[in-house]
Structure formats: structure tokens, C-alpha cells
């Protein structure tokens, strides 16, 4: 199947439509809640939670013996929450730092989960096939009820976000102020963390344990580059997330042997790289251009102040001088001369330059704070 075939099929084929809708909704909710994770410097929490969810899936399967994805998700949710709160316990009550706590929970829970998975695999006549999909995700296994679940979770998180919008915003940017206003930061914190855990857990089936964290981070990190407003950032992140979901599904469906998770992650990463380079406010490209302009301006100023040092020895500041005498000076080029002229700081006449009154004033005030940059 090629990409174009895929897109023509999306609207007719039931399975494809379900999968595409699923990954789109998933991308949207991950981007939305991921924004909070990124801004709260909890980016790696997602990684830890998604790994910590694995033993929950395996245990739920061991206990119920059913492969019903909702039961498994509840198991994942519980073990993800246990992992999250254990991380907080470690950071709060011991002198271990948060990175150690994250790494610990991540690897220990995951290892335990793998132990259970291999144990399950060796059990006789267990219909264990399919638990592997939680490692790397397989969007093809999504069914309509899964998509409904995602939509419900998205709806709930949207409502919670809207209701506590002001509180969350405060909590993000000034925890102490939030506390002093009398908001219960602990409950807010637990609320937002639980939402993040929930988003991760419903994404496990599609993207998989290992790569879920990128699904959470990448859209938010990309959206961060385009705006300084929380609302816009969340909106953009949701859009980026949804697009990477859809595109990822399209690419992975149109070629054999590709898990959806890695493809979605790579596409989200492309969004991030693009945003890092091309975003107008913060992007690397425009930043370099700004630096380059600043450097040029500095050179101009240097030339101008050299001219001033010559001109001030004369009674008439506009006394013409030969361009030649500038040759000893490094910052001078033909272009900079032209630029100075276009700004009316000097006038050039037959290889002679002379400072104008405007240029003279500019140099005199160059190092004054009051002088506005032009």
C-alpha cells in the first residue's frame, strides 16, 4: 500500500479509520498533557511511568487471565501510579535526587514486568500472545472501543483542564505564590500527575512502553518554540501530536514490518527539529540571523566611532576626508560605508566622506543608555 492509497482508504476502510482516529486522538491528548510535563520539568517522569506500567499489565493478565485491553489498562494505571508516587516518596524523604529515583523506578519496574512477561510466556496454554505489543505498540490492534476510551479520557482531561485552568497555570509558573493564595498545591499536583499517567497508559497499546515518553514530550517541546502563551502552546502541542499520530500511522501502514510507535516518534522528532530551527522567536536559524545582524551593527558603530575620532579634530565636523584613510581600520568595507550613508550618518562624495550632524550626534550618544537602538 502506498501513502496515497492509504489516504484514499482512510475514509472508507473501517480498520484504517479507527486506527487513524485513535492515533490522532492519542497524539492530541499526549501533546496537551505533555505540555504540563515539559513546563514542570517532569519530562522524564513520562518515561518512568510508561516503563512502570509494564508489571501492571502483566499482573492484570496473570490475575484475570483475560486479554481484555481495559483490564490490562487498569493494571497499567495502578502500577504507573504506584511508580509515580514511589518516585515522589524517594525524592521527598531521602537524599537521592530525582534523576536517580526516576532511573530506579523505571528500570526496576520494567525488569519486574519483563520477569512476569517471560514467566507468562512459559506458562502452558496461556493465550499470552499480544502482550508483546505493549513493548513497542501496534496501532493495528486498536478497535473502536479503544478509540472511544481515548476520546472519553481526552474529554475528561479537557474538562479538568478548563475547570482548573487558572490553578494549573499558577502552579506551573509560581508554586509558592499558589500556596500563599491558599490553593491546595498538593491536590492540584496529584491531579495533573494522574492525568499524565492516564494519558500515558492509554497510549501504551499504540506507541508502546519504551517510546511513550517521546509521544508526551516531542509535541510539547515543538509547540513551546512557537509561543509564550500556555493556552496556545497546549493547543499547538495537541495539533502537532495529532499530526504525528496520523502521519506515523500512514507511514507505518504503507510499508511492511514497521511498528507504529517508532514511526510516530520519528515524525514527532522531525516536528521538534523543524521547530528548533525555524521557529521565528526562539529558533536557531533566526537567532543566528539576529546575532549576525547585531555583529554587523557593532562593526558599523566601530567604523562610525573611528570616523568620529578623525572628524572631531576639525572645527567643521562635516569636513570631508579621503576614504583611503579608513583602509587602516579593520571594520571598514565598501558595504558598511554604503550602509552608513543610507542611514544618513555620513555623506560620500568622490572617494571623500564626511560626517553628518546626525552621525555626529549618534556617536556622541552611542554609549548613553538613553540612546534608542534603531
Amino acid at each position: 500500500m502506498t501513502l496515497s492509497e492509504y489516504f484514499s482508504l482512510v475514509f472508507n476502510d473501517y480498520t484504517l479509520r479507527t486506527i487513524t482516529l485513535g492515533t490522532a486522538v492519542l497524539g492530541a491528548i499526549c501533546g496537551m498533557l505533555g505540555s504540563f510535563a515539559v513546563l514542570r520539568k517532569q519530562s522524564l517522569l513520562g518515561d518512568a511511568i510508561s516503563h512502570a506500567a509494564l508489571p501492571g499489565i502483566a499482573l492484570a493478565f496473570l490475575i484475570t487471565g483475560a486479554k481484555n485491553s481495559n483490564t490490562l489498562l487498569i493494571g497499567a494505571l495502578i502500577s504507573g501510579l504506584i511508580g509515580t508516587f514511589w518516585i515522589r516518596g524517594i525524592v521527598k524523604k531521602t537524599h537521592l535526587k530525582s534523576d536517580t529515583a526516576l532511573g530506579l523506578i523505571l528500570s526496576l519496574f520494567f525488569g519486574f514486568g519483563m520477569l512476569l512477561l517471560t514467566f507468562i510466556q512459559k506458562m502452558p496454554n496461556a493465550n499470552q500472545a499480544g502482550l508483546d505489543k505493549y513493548l513497542f505498540g501496534q496501532a493495528a490492534t486498536l478497535v473502536e472501543s479503544d478509540v472511544w476510551l481515548m476520546c472519553i479520557v481526552t474529554g475528561i482531561s479537557l474538562i479538568v483542564l478548563l475547570v482548573f485552568w487558572k490553578e494549573f497555570k499558577l502552579l506551573l509558573f509560581d508554586v509558592d505564590y499558589t500556596k500563599s493564595l491558599g490553593f491546595n498545591t498538593r491536590i492540584l499536583d496529584v491531579l495533573i500527575t494522574s492525568l499524565i499517567v492516564l494519558a500515558i497508559v492509554i497510549g501504551l497499546q499504540t506507541v508502546g512502553v519504551v517510546l511513550m515518553s517521546a509521544m508526551l514530550l516531542a509535541p510539547a517541546a515543538a509547540a513551546r518554540q512557537w509561543t509564550n502563551s500556555l493556552g496556545v502552546m497546549i493547543f499547538l502541542a495537541a495539533i502537532f501530536g495529532a499530526f504525528s499520530g496520523v502521519l506515523g500511522t500512514a507511514v507505518s501502514a504503507s510499508s511492511n514490518n514497521l511498528s507504529t510507535g517508532p514511526v510516530i516518534v520519528l515524525i514527532a522528532a522531525t516536528f521538534v527539529i523543524f521547530s528548533f530551527i525555524f521557529s521565528p522567536g526562539r529558533g536557531l536559524l533566526f537567532r543566528e540571523i539576529r546575532y549576525w545582524k547585531n555583529r554587523n551593527d557593532l562593526h558599523l558603530h566601530k567604523t562610525l566611532s573611528f570616523m568620529y575620532s578623525i572628524a572631531k579634530t576639525h572645527d567643521d565636523i562635516s569636513h570631508p576626508h579621503a576614504v583611503k584613510i579608513l583602509n587602516n581600520f579593520q571594520g571598514y568595507t565598501k558595504r558598511s560605508l554604503k550602509k552608513l550613508e543610507s542611514r544618513e550618518y555620513i555623506t560620500v562624495n568622490n572617494a571623500m566622506w564626511s560626517l553628518t550632524q546626525k552621525g555626529y550626534n549618534k556617536v556622541v550618544n552611542m554609549y548613553n543608555q538613553q540612546e534608542n537602538n534603531d
Binding site: G111, M114, N257
Partner: protein
């Protein structure tokens, strides 16, 4: 025990030792998550290396994968330096992307690669002894034993040679720089060592166990000691113990050895987390409770000193005036009595001479706050702690 079993345990122990040493420094330098990032992002390096060498144990493959590890670190640091996102986000962005590339490379070439992503994540220690190294026809043992053994030897040599520099740059980067050691070189040296160890170990035990073996023993040791040398020894010990126990648990359950070693590490960590003297959860909670009661006691004594009138000093008044629960007021009262700070006559409490001196000194301390001597003061006055 068969010779295969002994070999597996030997490999597991060596891996545990080799991981514990760089792991200790990663934990101390607050870079534990870097090990997670490296363990994931070496995957494309391994895949590409495998295409080139067709041999999972080739030293070139290990070198190439280690270079990928260092590239990860450099990429993460580059993204951090742009200031576009926070440090942890940078880590979280880089390794899933690299890992995805690795997974896709494997999936696209599934026919020519005998690499399996599950094996990458989990490793298969049980099969390690069957891949033998033969030198001119003589069987000298499993290949991974030699690989991980030489990595451990190199790590140990580096550790002993640069112990002073490592210690200094870990605890005081500024001083290390002023003294002329380059923290940058040590930083990348450590990263390179961590990468090489990860690559060498991952073949046997998988990416996740490498992370567990690096972080968990070091974290346990960190909760038990504050001496770097002791911490190193302890984390090596913890790693080896859990490797051995983990092997036998796996043997008993007939499940993945890597998973079971990690689980044993988890149980051990839970124990240390709960019971570590001084820094464990229980001891921290106990200390906090004690401090709370002692602060209450001090408040109570100050109250007594400020109120000469009998109505303010009645036992029942504690509940009403200071608004403490019955249990709390009783424990505070008991503590004060045991320490001879107060005497009770007909339910009227009065300060003893000792209580008065203590309260005066405590007020002095609170007002002037000249010395951090409140603990020392408590030692002098208290017969029983709260």
C-alpha cells in the same frame, strides 16, 4: 551446579561489577538518567555495526555503539546549550528518536539481521555460555565473559588511576577546574566508560538491566554511606549479590534472568529504602516525629514560663489553650516529666530549675540564632528524646 550455570553466574557478577562502578559516579553526579538514554540510543550503533561486521561480539561493534553513546551525550548537551528546552526534556527527546531509528533499521532488514528487539531490551544471559571464544582451536570460555571481563579490567584500571580526579570533579567541579584538572575530559571519559560498559553488558543482560545494575546498587549504597570508597565497594557488593540471587530465582521460576536480577535489585532497594539507618524512610519519619514532639515541648515550656498564674498552668488547660489533641499533650507532658523539666502538683504544672534554664537558653537561641546549637542543647538537657 553445571559448568554452564557457573559461567552464567560469573558473567552476571562481572556485569554487575562493571556497571556498579560508573553507576556510582552517575548517581553522585545526578546523571542517572543519562545511563537510561545511552542504553536506548546505542541501538542504532549496534545495528549499523552489525551490518558492517556481521558479528555481535566484534570489538568494532562495541566501539561503534560506544561512540553512539557518546554522541547521545553530546547531542543532549547541545540541545541543552541552545536553551530551547530544559535539560531533562533534551534527554527525553534524543534517546527515543535514536532508539526508534534502531528499531526501524532492524525491522527493515529483519531478514538479514539476527537481531531481535526483545533481545536488545532483555538480553539472553541463559544463552551467553554457548557462544564460545576459541583461540587457535582451544576453547577458552564464553565470549561475553571475555568481553565483559576486559571492560571491567579497563574500568578498574581507570578508576584506580583517576580516582582522585574523579572524586574531586564529582564533588567540587569548581575546585577541580582551579586545580587544573579538566572536568570536561573526566566528564566525557566517564560517559565513554558508561557507554562501553552498557554495550558490553547489554549483549548479555539487555538494555534495561544495565540501567538497573548501574543505578540501583549505587542508590542503595548512597543511602547507607557517605564515603565514596565504601559506596563503591557496597554498590559492587549489592550488584553481585542480586546477580547471584536473581539467577537462582530465575532458575526456580524458569523466567528471564535479567528480569529476575532486576526484581531482586528492586526488593533489595525497597529494603534499604525502608530500613537504611539514618536515611531510610522509617528512620526519616521517626526523626521527623521526634523533632515535632520536641518542638511542641519547647512551645509548651515557653508557655509555662510566660504564665505565672495557676489557671494557665492547669493540666487540662493544655488541651484548651494550646489546642493540642489529648494524645499529643500527654506525650509532651510525659516527655517533659521524664526529663525533669516540669513538676506537677495537684494538676498544676510548674517549671523546675532545669526546665527554666533550658527554656531561657532556648529563647536565647531562638532570638539570637547565633549558633546551630539546638541539637547540642537537647543532648545536654534531655535524658529521653521525644
Amino acid at each position: 551446579m553445571t559448568s554452564v550455570q557457573i559461567e552464567i553466574q560469573l558473567i552476571a557478577c562481572l556485569v554487575a561489577m562493571a556497571c556498579a562502578i560508573p553507576g556510582t559516579f552517575l548517581v553522585l553526579r545526578k546523571m542517572a538518567m543519562i545511563s537510561d538514554a545511552i542504553s536506548h540510543s546505542i541501538l542504532p550503533g549496534i545495528v549499523v555495526g552489525f551490518f558492517l561486521t556481521e558479528n555481535l561480539n566484534s570489538p568494532w561493534l562495541i566501539l561503534l555503539a560506544a561512540v553512539t553513546g557518546v554522541i547521545t551525550v553530546i547531542l543532549v548537551e547541545f540541545i541543552q546549550k541552545t536553551g530551547l528546552v530544559k535539560e531533562d526534556t533534551a534527554i527525553g527527546l534524543v534517546f527515543p528518536a535514536l532508539f526508534s531509528i534502531g528499531v526501524i533499521l532492524i525491522a527493515k532488514n529483519a531478514n538479514d539481521v539476527h537481531l531481535d528487539v526483545d533481545a536488545v531490551l532483555l538480553g539472553e544471559l541463559a544463552f551467553a555460555p554457548f557462544d564460545r571464544l576459541e583461540i587457535s582451536g582451544v576453547d577458552v570460555g564464553p565470549k561475553s565473559l571475555w568481553v565483559i571481563g576486559s571492560i571491567l579490567l579497563i574500568t578498574l584500571t581507570l578508576l584506580i588511576t583517576f580516582f582522585k580526579e574523579l572524586k574531586l570533579s564529582t564533588f567540587d567541579k569548581g575546585l577541580a577546574t582551579t586545580l587544573g584538572f579538566s572536568p570536561v575530559i573526566i566528564h566525557y571519559g566517564l560517559m565513554a566508560t558508561a557507554s562501553v560498559t552498557t554495550v558490553g553488558a547489554f549483549d548479555a543482560v539487555g538494555a534495561i538491566l544495565v540501567v538497573a545494575l548501574m543505578i540501583a546498587p549505587a542508590a542503595m549504597a548512597y543511602l547507607l554511606t557517605t564515603d565514596l570508597k565504601k559506596m563503591l565497594v557496597l554498590s559492587v557488593l549489592f550488584g553481585m549479590i542480586s546477580a547471584l540471587i536473581g539467577y537462582w530465582v530465575a532458575h526456580w521460576l524458569d523466567a528471564s534472568i535479567a528480569g529476575s536480577i532486576t526484581t531482586v535489585l528492586g526488593v533489595l532497594f525497597l529494603m534499604v529504602y525502608l530500613f537504611a539507618p539514618g536515611k531510610g524512610l522509617i528512620s526519616v519519619l521517626y526523626k521527623q516525629r521526634r523533632q515535632q514532639i520536641e518542638v511542641h515541648l519547647l512551645t509548651f515550656l515557653l508557655h509555662l514560663q510566660n504564665h505565672e498564674e495557676e489557671s494557665e498552668r492547669h493540666v487540662n488547660h493544655l488541651n484548651e489553650h494550646i489546642n493540642w489533641g489529648k494524645v499529643r499533650s500527654k506525650s509532651v507532658l510525659d516527655l517533659a516529666l521524664k526529663n525533669n523539666m516540669i513538676s506537677i502538683n495537684n494538676d498544676i504544672i510548674s517549671l523546675t530549675a532545669k526546665g527554666k534554664t533550658f527554656t531561657t537558653e532556648a529563647i536565647d537561641y531562638i532570638i539570637t540564632n547565633k549558633n546551630a546549637a539546638i541539637e547540642e542543647m537537647k543532648d545536654r538537657f534531655f535524658l529521653f528524646r521525644g
